[in-house]
Symmetry: C2
Amino acid sequence: MTLAYSPDTAAAPAIVELMDRVGLKMTFAKGEEIFGQDEDADMIHSLVSGVVRTTRLLSDGRRQVGDFYYPGDVIGLEIGDAYRFSAEALTDCVIRVVKRSSLAALSGKDNLDRALWEATRRELERTQEHLLMLGRKSACEKVASFLRDVAQRDGSDEVSLPMGRQDMADYLGLTIETVSRMVTQLQGSQIVEFATSRLFRVTRWPALERLAA
Amino acid sequence: MTLAYSPDTAAAPAIVELMDRVGLKMTFAKGEEIFGQDEDADMIHSLVSGVVRTTRLLSDGRRQVGDFYYPGDVIGLEIGDAYRFSAEALTDCVIRVVKRSSLAALSGKDNLDRALWEATRRELERTQEHLLMLGRKSACEKVASFLRDVAQRDGSDEVSLPMGRQDMADYLGLTIETVSRMVTQLQGSQIVEFATSRLFRVTRWPALERLAA
DNA sequence: CGCTGGATTGAGTCCGGTCAAGCCTTGTGG
DNA sequence: CCACAAGGCTTGACCGGACTCAATCCAGCG
């Protein structure tokens, strides 16, 4: 899969650049775990290619998807001593990894500290947007916003959904059945058109924007 | 109102200390707006005393409360060019304020950059916790978690709720009526006991913890 | 081909929202 | 000190949107 570089969601270039230079290159196969919830958090990851999902589990099995990450995004900023989410590769991925301690050693250079702050701030903004959606939007609005966001990130005309319905549901705080029904409904209203369950195009942008509220 | 200092939620001391030194001291009366949504964001605020609420409005009037801030917390870190939330004083407040540009001038000194990063990271963690709750918890679990969190922050035996039911509802993604019903229900189960609608004590901590999940 | 796992669809239920009274606290003015 | 008004909170009856459970469909793949 080839994705457009998305400047408004990507982390500050300084970090990505640095990690390209000093980071260890790693690859993960589709479905593989990149790090696990509650593991010691000593790495920061920069996504070169592929799509990654972060998830958090409650004790009784309920699951919340934190976010989906695309090439250019930095993963692992939100972390204290232990990872609070686990991260899995939704597709085959290439990732640059550096130790936190190595970053600390570079502190002060290249405005790195400021860049890390900026990137974390942006992550925070994304999370706040997510929060607003979970708290105050209807099922239909949630699915509409989601499809809009994915379509915007993808950039291409034929938008591919790297995640399944269960992942969408756990991201939106819905069940898989409700997501499916809303998708069907949006298709019925001629707003989107699904070629397969993982591939669609937006047929009426203004209507989609309006529904996303 | 006197509140215990809460070290696990307070921002890195370095910032608070700095702001005590160079920040302009301001006071706000109960109900006053500290800054407004979409205003230019050029200030960072450190809360000395009182309680502050941040809110975000959707176009159709739906409201989401971002968070409640207590003494020792730093407000305004999440911000890009414009404030994405508005902040209001829930009680009379004393706040230290510094310009972002002044902070920038001090960049590099006192590990300030690192401290700002740390504080933002902590804010992100709080937001992620909030997210998990909105997405995957039932009304009863939401109210239970909320009362637990407030009680923990307050520290005292007689816990005071500086916010009204509407604020709780908008924080939890519920209606005022549902919040009220859940409170009544928790009281009926002998888990909490309300002296007035704004003052309660926890009678059975383990049960409250269990419900908060 | 048939198997397998994800996605869709349908029927029925329930949790939380809506609408509408009523209650209690607080504050104000006679 | 009481009467009254006003706003916030609670309670009740009802409704509807999202969940649950279950059947079916469909695409990918051996």
